[in-house]
């Protein structure tokens, strides 16, 4: 029940966060678009500046004066002026007058347009202020909601922790392939291509120092959480049992099995770690394998497994099974 509420809270927080993002994104984009939209209002003056030396307002922009200077610097080269030159000059003068009339007309229109733009701008600024005020109000409102949900979630987590004695945090790599996986062999696992089901697992707490601490914690307090992170379900192979009967020092070999007794995980160090399945019933015959994989103190009938340290495995790239690298350790508690 608690867990369901927790999930519900997380979902609400996510939806609120998204709404805020959208609203903020929207206001930003609107601001941006306003700016972009405002540019054309100035563009007429810029666009006409190169040829607007006889500005109707009598003001010349710095950019417009430069070409004039260039023109002036060319004047000494003119010298004696021929008749055809006056003719050409007169033509140019006429041309200039025509152009000036034309430009005056366009400037007049431009001024009119500029005026309209200014009015639009003022109107938009007014709208912008209003939107900003509304967004701000909404933001404050959502922020309050967010804080409220966060507090609820924290309360639920606390409840959940108190139920499972300590912590349900888990930070395993969800079914990812470790860096040190050898060669070019593809990792063959039925359920390897796993996407983490939820992202609410906390990072390791500061007190945790071993790569398998979180496996142990979760195994002991909330093994159902671990089930989502199983890489493979395995049992000791029959060949291994036979071989160990013949020679008790022979290595244990595990392989995937439908009727499995153990779970394989990857730890934070991206090594492979093995635990018994959480509901493993300890039988006289299964105890032999358990002892081969874990240091076990004396078993008392009816007791259950408390994980101290998972067993370390390595994948056998030839057979696809698993070899024991280092024994784990378990206790039995009533």
């Amino acid at each position: 029940m608690g867990r369901r509420m927790e999930i519900k809270c997380v979902r609400k927080i996510a939806s609120v966060s998204l709404t805020i993002m959208l609203l903020l994104g929207g206001s930003f984009s609107r601001e941006t678009s306003n700016t972009a939209w405002a540019q054309p209002s100035t563009s007429p003056s810029v666009s006409i500046s190169p040829s607007s030396s006889p500005s109707p307002t009598g003001t010349a922009t710095p950019s417009s004066s430069q070409p004039d200077q260039k023109t002036a610097s060319n004047e000494p080269t003119q010298g004696a002026f021929p008749a055809w030159g006056w003719f050409v000059l007169g033509g140019l003068g006429l041309w200039n007058v025509g152009l000036s009339v034309l430009f005056w007309q366009s400037i007049k229109e431009s001024n009119q347009s500029n005026h309209e733009t200014q009015q639009n701008l003022k109107r938009l600024e007014k709208i912008d202020v209003e939107v900003n005020q509304r967004v701000s109000r909404k933001f404050d409102e959502l922020k309050g909601q967010l804080l409220s949900y966060k507090k609820t979630l924290e309360a639920l987590q606390l409840q959940s922790q108190s139920k499972s004695s300590k912590s349900a945090s888990y930070n395993l790599e969800p079914r990812t392939q470790p860096d040190n996986y050898g060669d070019n062999e593809p990792f063959v696992s039925r359920d390897y291509a796993y996407e983490p089901r939820s992202s609410n697992y906390a990072q390791p707490s500061p007190g945790m120092s071993n790569p398998w601490d979180s496996i142990v914690q979760n195994y002991n307090f909330s093994p159902q959480v671990l089930e989502n992170y199983i890489i493979e379900r395995v049992s000791e192979s029959e060949e291994s049992v036979v071989s160990r009967r013949d020679n008790s020092n022979a290595a244990v070999f595990l392989k995937a099995a439908n009727n499995y007794s153990y779970w394989v995980f990857t730890g934070e160090d991206r090594n492979y770690w093995l635990t018994p399945k959480s509901d493993l019933k300890i039988t006289p015959m299964g105890f032999d394998t358990l002892q081969a994989l874990f240091e076990c103190p004396e078993y008392q009938q009816g007791s259950r497994i408390q994980m101290i340290k998972p067993a370390k495995l390595t994948q056998n790239s030839f057979s696809g099974g698993w070899d024991l690298v280092e024994k784990g350790q378990v206790h039995f508690i009533r």
Binding site: S248, P284, M285, D288
Partner: protein, 1110 residues
């Protein structure tokens, strides 16, 4: 008509108006008389009035007229309907009349619950029954009667017909039969809506055969009415006419000749009145082939047929056939079948068949395993892919919810091919539908496949998380093999229980004892085990729930068929040793160690660790590597003599968990202990069965057994051993069909001493790719076993002497470790608490198990590191002295044989050693590997020389490359260049030390020919032994042997009082052994006095060593 016009409008008529013409057409003249005046009229006046009235035609739905105020109203109404063609509901009444006649006619064929009883009104009246009296008084007119009753009124005696005990009609003198108006004909096909109808109209309920027979039956009724075809009265004419019409309505078919019931009282009474006689015998049902017989698979020859009793509506819809065409059994078709006559499932004794109702074909619930492919040894139907990740995200394997009765008729392959699985996703949850297309005999010329289906919801309470270990052995089929074993083991995981059909023997038991781990013993008291003996490979396993209720089947894959007629014969050599047993086989000229392949049929996919361990501890181990430990397990035994069930070959685990002292189901010492005879037989029987199964799996047609025995066996031992084999092989031959040839006592080819067998191995066996490195031109072969060393001396490939001495691994090694188990703790880091508790042979067996696995590695890696340690050195001294003593004895043999003139070459011989104990020589060599260059080799050569008096020419001791294989291998080597293998002369032991029997003193080189009763066996002086020990120490000194120290405090001296304490203690120890050598000479395992003295010396020195290291 004119009168009527005068009638007031508000008036109502008492009778309908007259018809037009008043009935003049029929010759009736009815005229109204004067109002208010009574006229005399004839008897027929009312009839005429009735016939003259205008009655509107009755609709089809009108089935009766209820206005006749008469106790006999119904039969009179029927009479009128039959005899008056204008009767308003004549057609309906005739339908009912036909329906009743048909019901009577087909009563037997259809199995109708129809009975009759005679009602005699006069008699009832006489009894004072008022109702009967009224009926009697009001008897109807005989005008239309068809018969008379010898002057009595025909209506006074009538038959009442009963359907399921309730009245549904009666006989009628005027109409033959008359159905009652509201008769309840429940179950009669042509009775529907509370109304009796014609059997063929409006719905045709009869098949062609029935129509044909009914038509002929009606003809008989007609004949009864008018037997001579004479001119008869109108009433008879009317009825015969109607019968004819009825016949015509059945069509003109004559497919089946009428047979009438042989039961003259079919209806319970004999109906004998007039033409009613025809009704007395209904149509006889004619037996036909069943349409619903389950067609057995090819190869299945069940003694009884199995009939599927289908749901009538289902099969009629499926096959599109009426019930009467679906024949159930004999004369009973589906229409006539009374379900209460057949059991739900099982025998129908009356019919001599078995029956299975459709409702019981499928089990009521579906049980399933929540894992994929849970039954690797089983067959699964089509559609299993639909069950992947099906239940709570898990794949499931269902137990087939079918009635096991089907398996008596169908092979698992056939049945599984008829089943398919469908997945049904419904709002209410996931469901699985099982469809079964069962092949039935069907209706002539038509496909008899009948489909049945059942849908199951997946219920949590039917989910099974784990499967038990379920195994069958062996995994083949053969016409002659009739000894199968099944095994069930559930370590209390709440799996399911099982039942096997035709189990001959069953041992069901709770787990026995404990499983031992290095620090802990785990009691196995919660598990459930079953071992069963079967005569055939089962085709299925019937799974049961907690309360033994059926929960489904596992159909087993039919194993491969093997034959025993075409294969080649095997010669099998068995070295049944004290500690280990080894087997070699010769096939097609190739000699090799038998490879025991697993012949297990693994039914369930149980956890690997549980399965393997369960097989080792409670059943036949799936992996048996030769040589086998000569150890039996009796877990689950009932103390009887059934192989496998009461005792099996046991493969011990390792020494830490092998506890022959506390585990009383572990039985070692099978070879020598007289108390173990039953266990000895159980071990050998399992061994023979195991080898026979291997042979049959390879299509072998015959096994020739070759057996060995130690020369130390007494005559009685030898006889018992070979007889045992003969009895056991005969028993196995009987149940397996494989011819077994067992040697007799006087067959030296196949029943020979271990010393000869090992000699033949050295002489003739060639390892693949290389020639034998041994030759027996001039040599001694010693097979050092656990309890005996078998010696044979050869000269120019001719056997000079053979003997067996009880000085072997036990005396040369094991006894010292037993005296000082701390050695294991210090050298091998073994916890020895358990070891200390072991007595005698238990210790040796455990040590054998330990050394088998540990010694090779220890010798290679650790021996030289501890070689200088005093404790290890002490053990080396003891072992070297023991082996040197054996060599010294061989030297004495050479000397004695030379003196007898049997050994002519005046030199010592090379020695070839084999047997499990020969590995001990590696302990004496630096680097843990004995060879000709090691110090011990030279020492042993010197011992041969010292004893024999021949020159020490540094002969080599060669170890067999295959220790413990030599005897078994030598037994199957037929062609040999050795001579004397079949020598049957007595070759008594050579004493090696002077001794006296029953007061008679014999010298060291005397032969030990014992007979009669031994009352006294003495060794007065250990002269030869003292010489040996002196010679041993001198050689150590002369050869400057560094690796082996002399015994501390031993003085090499000719003086008689030197080492007095040692020899006094030795003599005392020897005395104990000699006391055992008393009694009947045939029962005594004779030992040479020299060897007895040596053993006593080793015990004394061993104790000293052990005391030093306590």
């Amino acid at each position: 008509m004119t009168e009527s016009s005068k009638i007031p409008q508000s008036s109502h008529f008492f009778l309908p108006k007259l018809r037009e013409g008043g009935g003049t057409q029929e010759g009736i003249d009815v005229k109204p008389g004067a109002v208010g005046t009574w006229d005399r009229q004839s008897r027929a006046a009312f009839q005429h009035v009735a016939s003259s009235l205008e009655v509107p035609s009755a609709g089809r739905d009108v089935k009766s007229v209820s206005s006749i105020p008469d106790m006999w109203a119904r039969p009179l109404s029927m009479e009128m309907a039959i005899h008056n063609r204008r009767y308003p509901i004549r057609a309906q009444m005739i339908e009912q009349w036909q329906g009743m006649l048909a019901a009577i006619a087909l009563a037997e064929v259809r199995g109708f619950p129809l009975k009759a009883m005679l009602v005699e009104l006069e008699a009832e009246k006489e009894k004072g029954d008022a109702f009967a009296r009224s009926l009697y008084e009001l008897r109807p007119s005989t005008q239309n009667c068809l018969y008379e009753l010898n002057g009595r009124h025909p209506w006074q005696d009538v038959y009442v017909f009963l359907w399921n005990g309730r009245s549904i009609g009666m006989s009628s003198p005027s109409t033959l039969v008359c159905p009652s108006e509201e008769g309840s004909w429940v179950g009669l096909p042509w009775w529907s809506g509370g109304r009796l109808r014609s059997p063929v109209s409006p719905v045709d309920h009869l098949n062609q055969d029935e129509k044909s027979q009914l038509r002929q039956w009606l003809e008989i009724v007609r004949q009864e009415l008018n037997p001579m075809g004479q001119t008869v009265g109108k009433a008879v004419n009317e009825v015969t006419g109607l019968l004819g019409e009825f016949q015509n309505s059945l069509g003109n078919v004559s497919s089946q000749t009428l047979k009438r019931s042989a039961d003259t009282r079919f209806f319970g009474v004999n109906i004998i009145q007039g033409p009613l006689r025809a009704l007395n015998t209904p149509i006889q049902a004619i037996p036909q082939d069943s349409s619903v017989r389950v067609m057995p698979s090819v190869g299945k020859t069940p003694s009884q047929d199995l009939l599927l009793i289908p749901e009538a509506h289902q099969i009629m819809r499926e096959w599109r056939e009426p019930a009467q065409s679906i024949w159930i059994h004999g004369a009973i078709n589906l229409a006539a079948l009374k379900l209460e006559d057949v059991p739900r499932s099982g025998d129908v004794p009356r019919w001599g068949v078995k029956a299975l109702r459709e409702a019981d074909v499928f089990l009521p619930e579906l049980s399933f395993i929540t894992q994929a492919s849970a039954f690797p040894g089983g067959l699964m139907p089509k559609g299993m892919e639909f069950l992947t990740e099906f239940y709570e995200g898990k794949s499931i394997t269902p137990l087939l919810p079918l009635n096991p009765l089907l398996m008596e008729y169908l092979t698992p392959e056939d049945l599984v091919s008829m089943v398919q699985i469908q997945r049904i996703d419904q709002a209410s949850g996931l469901q699985v539908e099982f469809i079964l297309d069962l092949r039935l005999s069907g209706i002539k010329g038509k496909d008899g496949v009948y489909r049945m289906a059942k849908t199951y919801p997946l219920k949590k309470e039917n989910a099974i998380a784990e499967v038990p270990v379920l195994e069958l052995w062996p995994n083949f089929r053969s016409d002659t093999w009739k000894e199968y074993y099944a095994f069930y083991y559930d370590p209390n995981l709440e799996t399911f229980q099982v039942q096997f059909a035709k189990a001959q023997e069953t041992h069901s038991f709770k787990g026995v004892g404990s499983f031992h781990y290095p620090n802990y013993s785990f009691p196995d008291n919660e598990s459930n085990c079953q071992i069963l003996q079967l005569t055939e490979f089962p085709s299925f396993i019937d799974c049961r729930g907690k309360n033994q209720q059926p929960i489904g089947l596992i159909l087993l894959k039919t194993p491969k068929e093997v034959g025993t007629t075409t294969g080649i014969p095997w010669k099998v050599g068995v070295d049944f040793g004290t500690s280990f047993t080894n087997i070699y086989v010769k096939r097609s000229g190739i000699v090799e160690r038998l490879s025991i392949e697993s012949l297990h049929h693994k039914v369930t996919e149980s956890s690997g660790e549980i399965r393997q361990t369960a097989l080792y501890e409670y059943f036949i181990a799936s992996s048996m590597e030769l040589p086998l430990s000569t150890v039996l397990t009796t877990r689950g035994s009932k103390g009887e003599t059934l192989p496998v069930l009461d005792g099996r070959i046991y493969i011990p685990r390792d020494s830490t968990t092998f506890k022959p002292n506390t585990d009383d189901w572990i039985r070692p010492n099978l070879k020598w202990s007289a108390e173990s005879l039953n266990f000895n037989r159980l071990f050998l029987k399992h061994l023979i069965l195991q080898i026979t199964a291997q042979a049959v799996a390879n299509s072998v047609k015959e096994i020739q057994w070759a057996l060995s025995y130690p020369s130390a066996f007494s005559k009685t031992d030898r006889n018992k051993y070979v007889k045992n084999w003969r009895d056991l092989t005969l028993a196995v031959q009987e149940t397996t069909g494989l011819t077994q040839t067992c040697p007799t006592l006087d067959n030296p080819t196949n029943y020979r001493t271990e010393s000869l067998a090992i000699a033949q191995y050295f002489a003739d066996f060639e390892l693949p790719g290389r020639k034998s490195q041994f030759d027996l031109v001039n040599s001694t072969c010693i097979d050092i076993g656990g309890g005996t060393s078998d010696i044979s001396i050869w000269e120019e490939n001719r056997l000079v002497h053979q003997c067996s001495v009880q000085l072997a691994g036990k005396d040369l090694f094991s006894q010292f470790i037993q005296m000082n188990p701390g050695f294991l703790e210090r050298m091998f880091k073994v916890k020895i608490d358990e070891w200390r508790k072991l007595q005698g042979f238990q210790f040796y067996v455990k040590l054998d198990v330990f050394m088998r696995r540990e010694s090779v590695g220890w010798l290679q890696n650790r021996r030289d590191m501890v070689a200088e340690e005093p404790e290890f050195q002490g053990l080396m001294q003891l072992m070297t002295l023991g082996v040197a003593g054996l060599y010294y004895y061989v030297g004495l043999l050479l000397k004695a044989l030379a003196a007898e003139g049997k050994y002519k070459t005046p030199e010592i011989t090379p020695v070839f050693t084999g047997g499990n104990g020969s590995r001990l020589l590696n302990w004496l060599a630096e680097g843990g590997e004995f060879n000709r260059h090691c110090e011990a080799n030279d020492l042993f050569s010197a011992m041969l020389s010292g004893a024999s008096g021949f020159e020490d020419i540094d002969v080599e001791t060669k170890l067999s490359p295959l220790p413990k294989d030599e005897v078994a291998c030598g037994l199957v080597l037929d062609e040999s260049h050795l001579k004397g293998l079949d020598k049957r002369d007595e070759d008594p032991l050579i004493a090696g030390e002077a001794f006296s029997i029953n007061g008679e003193l014999l010298d060291w080189n005397a032969r030990m020919r014992l007979s009669g009763t031994i009352e006294d066996f003495e060794v007065p002086e250990l002269t030869a032994l003292k010489h040996f020990v002196d010679s041993y120490h001198r050689t150590l000194d002369l050869q400057r042997v560094e690796g082996i120290d002399p015994f501390k405090g031993y003085v090499v001296s000719e003086e008689s009082d030197a080492n007095a304490e040692l020899w006094r203690t030795t003599a005392r120890e020897l005395k104990k052994s000699l006391l055992r050598l008393r009694g009947n000479a045939d029962d005594i395992r004779v030992e040479p006095p020299f060897i007895l003295g040596l053993k006593a010396l080793l015990q004394v020195l061993g104790k000293r060593w052990a005391d030093e290291w306590k």
